[in-house]
């Protein structure tokens, strides 16, 4: 059996091992490859960067379950950090599905340690899960207090100082959905389209291509796509002198780059192998027919 045939019949476990190695080594020995922010990330960053303590609130929605944590948690934390550093009032919504609320609690607990002077109810509000998905999004457009009743900690919303001036989407500068599902489409339909609120998205890389169409049409302010998007946001935070924490997305980008290189190499080798073996089989078939 020739090299190309052996390559095409390679046990896929060797590929898993290869991917594992190229992911692990850069994590232990980081190369610090540069991260160049793209326009969709810069648009979202710049929008938030123009806001301040007197601006309307940022409504940040967590759509991250444990399965999408590596991509979405860095986005959540970077945006929370950005808003809290600038003193922008943040309404942090735990999520449209019950699995999200634990991740949201983790995110806010970790970030708030960096801002000991920021108080829940005064500088930010953490809202818990309620069922309904599209009904919840529509209902926020009518009245946040009626929709949620109380914050995550059970404190009535009408008693929270930050919420005195915030009733619905008209008091919100932007809704940002950090999502691992198709929930941005719901926000787009029932929030952005129905109530005209500005809308930004941070999503898993799998979903990102579908949302570029909405950037181009102006329906979305900006987009963070996958780990790369999160790393770009971290890079923009660093360039503008904001605190960045451990930059988990940026740390992972070296592994990402090497993983991609290996995949590209395998795709090229696989294609060459396919054509070479097909050609060899064709030639062999012609020779056999001649012999007959």
């Amino acid at each position: 059996m020739g090299f190309w045939q052996r390559l095409l019949k390679l046990d896929r476990r060797w590929i898993f091992l290869g991917i594992g190695l190229v992911v692990i080594f850069p994590l232990i020995y980081p190369l610090k490859l540069p991260v160049k922010p793209t326009k969709p990330s810069m648009d979202l960053f710049n929008y938030i960067d123009t806001l301040g303590p007197e601006s309307d609130a940022v409504f940040l929605v967590n759509g991250s379950a444990p399965s999408t944590l590596p991509e979405l948690m860095p986005m959540l934390q970077a945006i929370l950090r950005h808003c809290l550093t600038k003193g922008v009032p943040v309404i942090f919504f735990g999520g449209l599905y019950p699995q999200y609320i634990g991740v949201a609690k983790m995110a806010i607990d970790e970030i708030i340690k960096e801002f000991p002077d920021k108080k829940s109810g005064k500088d930010y509000v953490f809202l818990g899960y309620i069922p309904g998905v599209s009904a919840v999004i529509l209902s926020i457009g009518i009245d946040i207090e009626t929709t949620f009743g109380a914050d995550y900690y059970g404190i009535p919303i009408d008693s929270l100082p930050m919420m005195r001036e915030i009733k619905n989407y008209s008091d919100i500068s932007i809704v940002i959905d950090i999502s691992g599902t198709s929930s941005p489409e719901y926000w787009l339909m029932y929030g952005q389209e129905r109530y005209g609120v500005n809308f930004g998205v941070g999503c898993t890389a799998v979903s990102a291509p579908a949302y570029y169409a909405f950037l181009q049409s102006g329906q979305m302010v900006g987009l963070l796509g996958g780990l790369k998007g999160a790393a770009e946001y971290e890079e923009l935070m660093a360039r503008n002198g904001y605190p960045t924490g451990k930059r988990p997305a940026t740390v992972g980008m070296d592994s990402q780059s090497f993983g991609h290189l290996l995949i590209v190499l395998l795709v090229i080798l696989g294609n060459i192998g396919y054509f070479v073996t097909r050609r060899a089989e064709k030639t062999r078939g012609i020779e056999q027919r001649r012999k007959r």
Binding site: L27, I28, P98, G149, E193, A205, V206, S217
Partner: protein, 209 residues
């Protein structure tokens, strides 16, 4: 190296390794971790819904003053869905679903058309302001040509001859580029998940990073 002493970190690390053992081959450790995951996620969702919603939004307003009697109607409708578990009462589910479908369709159809069709069509128009820069002009033309040729590719009511066939072939090129972009992003997503787990194992569990 500073290995974690937290039992939770150890449990998470061992479960991660048990799940990844599937990459070698199917085994009882993987099965165990998979079943734990299924049970936990369903149980977690039930508890969250029960404590955050049923007790707060249904039980308390109904049984404690000031009683919100208006809740009885939606609760009854919701309860009818459980009719699906009985052959005798399956017919009950028609009523809540009728409400749900009618309401949902009424709310969704206009906004879906507006957000996903009309706005997208509008954005593909070649207006003069899109030609203010060279990259902008190229993008606008590409989007316009891509949209038209892709739509032609999915038009099956005529023979693909002459210009129509050529346009459909151009449409395939755009579709293939879209598939390629999607695949690239999917690879990125899958590797990101692996990176996240490896960061946890190396940093939080083994304390190497």
């Amino acid at each position: 190296m500073n290995i974690s002493t937290s039992p939770w970190v150890w449990i998470a690390a061992l479960l991660t390794l048990m799940i990844y053992s599937f990459l070698y081959k199917e085994n009882p450790f993987y099965r165990l971790a998979e079943h734990i995951f299924m049970g936990l996620s369903i149980g977690y969702a039930v508890v969250i819904i029960w404590y955050n919603y049923v007790l707060v939004r249904v039980y308390k307003p109904l049984f404690f003053p000031p009683h919100q009697w208006s809740l009885i109607f939606p609760i009854l409708l919701g309860t009818m869905i459980f009719g699906i578990f009985s052959k005798k009462y399956t017919w009950l589910i028609k009523y809540p679903f009728a409400f749900y479908i009618a309401g949902y369709a009424g709310i969704s159809i206009p906004v879906t058309l507006q957000a996903f069709v009309l706005k997208q069509v509008e954005a593909s128009f070649l207006t003069p302001e899109k030609f203010s820069s060279i990259p902008g002009s190229i993008n606008s033309i590409l989007i316009f040509v891509g949209l038209i040729t892709t739509l032609i590719f999915f038009y099956f009511s005529t023979k693909r001859e002459h210009g129509f066939g050529t346009a459909a072939k151009v449409g395939i090129v755009f579709i293939m580029v879209a598939f390629g972009a999607s695949f690239g992003y999917t690879v990125m997503a899958r590797i990101s998940l692996l990176i996240g787990r490896m960061q946890f194992l190396i940093q939080d569990w083994l304390g190497i990073m």
